[in-house]
C-alpha cells in the first residue's frame, strides 16, 4: 500500500480515537514530547502503562477474592490505576476507574463488580486500538 495512503489511514485512526473519546488531550502532550531523540516515546509510555496496569488489575482481582472486601485497599489500587490512565490520556478507562472508586466509597459490591468489568473492557479495547494505531504509524513512516 502507498505510503501516503498509510499515513492518511494512521491519521484517520488517530483522530477517531480522540473523536470517540478513547483519548484526551494528555495523549497530545505525550506526542508533543516525542522527538528524534525519542522517536518511540509515546509507544514506550503506553507499553509501560499496560505492564503496570496489568499488575494493578491482578492486585484488584486478588483483593476481590477475600471477603469481606477491603474497600479501602481497592480504592487505593484504583487510585493508582486512575492516575496512570490519566497520565497517558486514557479517557474512558479513567472514567470507569472514577466510577469504581465511587462505588468503593459507599461499599457497593455489585456496583464495584460491574464497573471493574467495564474497567477491564475499556483497558483491553484501548490496548487493541493503540496497538493497531502504532503498527500502522510504523508502516506509514
Amino acid at each position: 500500500m502507498e505510503r501516503n495512503q498509510l499515513q492518511r489511514q494512521a491519521a484517520y485512526m488517530r483522530n477517531t480515537l480522540f473523536d470517540q473519546g478513547y483519548l484526551d488531550e494528555q495523549f497530545l502532550q505525550l506526542e508533543d514530547l516525542q522527538d528524534e531523540a525519542n522517536p518511540k516515546f509515546v509507544e514506550e509510555v503506553v507499553k509501560l502503562f499496560y505492564t503496570d496496569s496489568a499488575r494493578l488489575i491482578r492486585s484488584i482481582e486478588l483483593t476481590l477474592e477475600n471477603t469481606p472486601w477491603d474497600f479501602e485497599k481497592l480504592d487505593k489500587i484504583m487510585h493508582q490505576f486512575k492516575g496512570s490512565s490519566s497520565s497517558i490520556g486514557a479517557k474512558k478507562v479513567k472514567k470507569e476507574c472514577t466510577q469504581f472508586q465511587e462505588y468503593c466509597k459507599v461499599g457497593n459490591v455489585e456496583g464495584c463488580m460491574r464497573t471493574f468489568q467495564e474497567v477491564k473492557q475499556e483497558h483491553a479495547a484501548l490496548k487493541r486500538k493503540l496497538e493497531n494505531y502504532f503498527q500502522l504509524a510504523r508502516e506509514a513512516r
Partner: protein, 173 residues
C-alpha cells in the same frame, strides 16, 4: 560550586538538577521526559525515603550522607505509600541545610485545603496532574530563584498559582 545550604541559583539551565519523586512508573517516565525537554538534569526516585537519601538528609539533623547530590528543585507527588509528598516537604523545609531547595507538589486531586497546606508548609507551587509541559516550564522561574521574589506580593504572601490552569492545547479538528 555552591553547597546545598548556600543557595545560589545556577545561571545555566544545563546545570539545573531536579529530583523527581513519584511512586508511579508511568508518571516518573513522563515527568523525567518533561524535565529533560526543558534541559534539566533529572534524578527520578519512587519514594520519599529514597529522595531523602539522594539529598543526603538523614534523620540526625546536620549529618550529611555519602549519597549527597546537589539538587536545585524537588518535584514530588503528594499521594505516595510510606512517606507522603507532604511529609517529604516538611522534612526538607524543616532542615536548616536543605530548606532553601524549592519543592513543588503534584497531585491528581485539586483540593484547596491540600493546596493551602502545602503552600503554608513552604511549597513553591502545586501542580494538578496530569502534568503538562506548560506546568514544567513554569518551574524554571523557581530554579533560577527569581520566581520566589516575583510571586510574593506586598504583604509577603505567595500567590496560590495553581488551581487548574488550562494550557493551550488544541484537539485535532
Amino acid at each position: 560550586m555552591a553547597k546545598n545550604g548556600d543557595f545560589s541559583p545556577p545561571l545555566d539551565p544545563h546545570e539545573v538538577h531536579v529530583l523527581a519523586v513519584d511512586d508511579s512508573l508511568v508518571d516518573r517516565k513522563v515527568i523525567e521526559k518533561l524535565l529533560r525537554i526543558i534541559s534539566c538534569k533529572v534524578t527520578a526516585v519512587d519514594s520519599g525515603i529514597r529522595a531523602l537519601q539522594i539529598l543526603g538528609l538523614n534523620e540526625e539533623e546536620g549529618s550529611v550522607g555519602y549519597d549527597e547530590i546537589k539538587v536545585d528543585l524537588v518535584i514530588t507527588d503528594y499521594c505516595m505509600p510510606g512517606m507522603t509528598g507532604y511529609e517529604l516537604l516538611k522534612k526538607i523545609k524543616g532542615s536548616s541545610t536543605f530548606r532553601e531547595i524549592p519543592v513543588v507538589i503534584m497531585s491528581s486531586e485539586n483540593v484547596l485545603a491540600r493546596i493551602d497546606r502545602c503552600l503554608e508548609e513552604g511549597a513553591e507551587d502545586f501542580i494538578v496532574k496530569p502534568v503538562k509541559l506548560c506546568d514544567v516550564e513554569r518551574l524554571k522561574s523557581y530554579m533560577f530563584g527569581e520566581g520566589r521574589i516575583q510571586r510574593q506580593n506586598a504583604n509577603g504572601e505567595f500567590n496560590k498559582t495553581k488551581l487548574h490552569e488550562t494550557c493551550n492545547v488544541s484537539l485535532p479538528s
